[in-house]
Symmetry: C2
Subunit: 317 residues, 2 copies
Amino acid sequence: MQAIDRLKRNQGRYKGKQQFLAMYSSIFEGITTDTAAMVIPMDDHMVHRGHGVFDTAAIMDGYLYELDQHLDRFIGSATMAKIKLPFDRESIRRILIQTVSASKCRRGSLRYWLSGGPGDFNLSPSGCHHPALYAIVIQDQSPPDFKGLKVTTSSIPIKPPQFAVMKSVNYLPNVLSKMEAEEKGGYAAIWLDEDGYVAEGPNMNVAFVTNENELLMPHFDKILSGCTARRVLVLAEGLVREGKLKCIRTGNVTVEEGKSAKEMMLIGSGVLVRPVLQWDDQLIGNGKEGLVSEALLNLILEDMKSGPPSVRVPVPY
Amino acid sequence: MQAIDRLKRNQGRYKGKQQFLAMYSSIFEGITTDTAAMVIPMDDHMVHRGHGVFDTAAIMDGYLYELDQHLDRFIGSATMAKIKLPFDRESIRRILIQTVSASKCRRGSLRYWLSGGPGDFNLSPSGCHHPALYAIVIQDQSPPDFKGLKVTTSSIPIKPPQFAVMKSVNYLPNVLSKMEAEEKGGYAAIWLDEDGYVAEGPNMNVAFVTNENELLMPHFDKILSGCTARRVLVLAEGLVREGKLKCIRTGNVTVEEGKSAKEMMLIGSGVLVRPVLQWDDQLIGNGKEGLVSEALLNLILEDMKSGPPSVRVPVPY
């Protein structure tokens, strides 16, 4: 096991800020807390052909937030990517919860993947006989951040709708889009769809508050159906009832409409709700973090901490 | 190391027909012949974001075929994917040759990857400080196969040109295209470009012999520049001199032109030159393996076995 020993020795060199607390792998049929063992076979079809899908769930105060909603999307992505489930939904769910339990993590995130599995290096998955499930628990104690951001418009082509609606690991366009934004001093780059309408960010949705005080979000038909974004649409109904929003609308959003909005925000399980203060050279609204964005972030945080059982799955530690 | 021990124990379950003889990894800074150690860190940006590129080279009688041509494309792909080289070109070349040497393989293939490297699970590679190099040697003793094949037309959308011209691991469209062909009893599905012209197969180029006896191949501007296909274009000049071909032409190829060709073939480092006898419901030519395809396969095989030093790099075992 010389190679593995070296891997262990060299670990420090690669260590980033994130702490990986536990990993489940169906290949070794168990959970490990040894970071040197958090590996995947090179011949897994996900590694060398991108034949894998993933999803996430936030861990908040010992609860998994919106696990079932993410799990439904995860299984939907696997179906679209023609990856058979190695276990039924209930078993996958149980394994994910057990992995968080073994990690002892109470605040952070869970990431999980379904892959074509190992077998060979061919393009066809016909030699990969056992699809694989992997899951990792990542510690994250940082408080929610509400500081406004700058975004740019992505020059990287958006994926065809068939691929944009599934959460596969084919994220090179997303990576290049993110890098492009960072090179321009932005946080993320916004994709426009093939008709020029506002689509999505590289791993988050976008939403606007129009000058008529509507919450406006692009349709989910050509972009990833965001779990957090969908939850925001539900929670925002409270703001309509309180009169803080006129209504909620999903539909085509032009760039002009977006850039002249009163508020703009990024929504996702990573960013939660983050205000956008500038898009390319255009200040959004008065260039300050907006009231609706703030109210929506607070609603999501409250939901994560004390929402109904349908969005909060307790982890038995 | 319980997880690794289990991984070793469970190996047999996943073992396919391919034999992996050696693996180099810049993570453990060395070469292993232990298949249980042929792994990649889960947090490598290539695994969870597809931020990696790859290439191959055939190993024939102890020589690496067209290593330098593949290596040039590999480095070009890395540049397009914004992956910095962990070593200079000469060092990468030396490591690849050493890996084949350590494997003792004289007939098979070498596959290699450059990745964003490990660090964290974020979308941005800014936390991945060391790009990684991996290489695997796969034994393959099977004789070249000249049996004609059936192909279909892919219904899976082709990648935008910016992504089609780089060999990244974002091959899910290619996998789904291959699976679609196999479900229809075919070997591969042919992609048409956005204007409806013949583009490429999921991991090979296509070429035709027209009724005017021209060798016709689609342009490389929107598809992957095939190393084997480019070599075939050079070697085919001999057939022009012998009068077996009228000329060699690259350009737009319509589906009608393709389907009414005298011969059709797939060309790649895996298939070498394979005749296509049927495309969808249409028989190609007389439905038999053609003479030009056979002559081109023989030229490639001869080139692999006794071509000039520019295409044959000796491995010092």
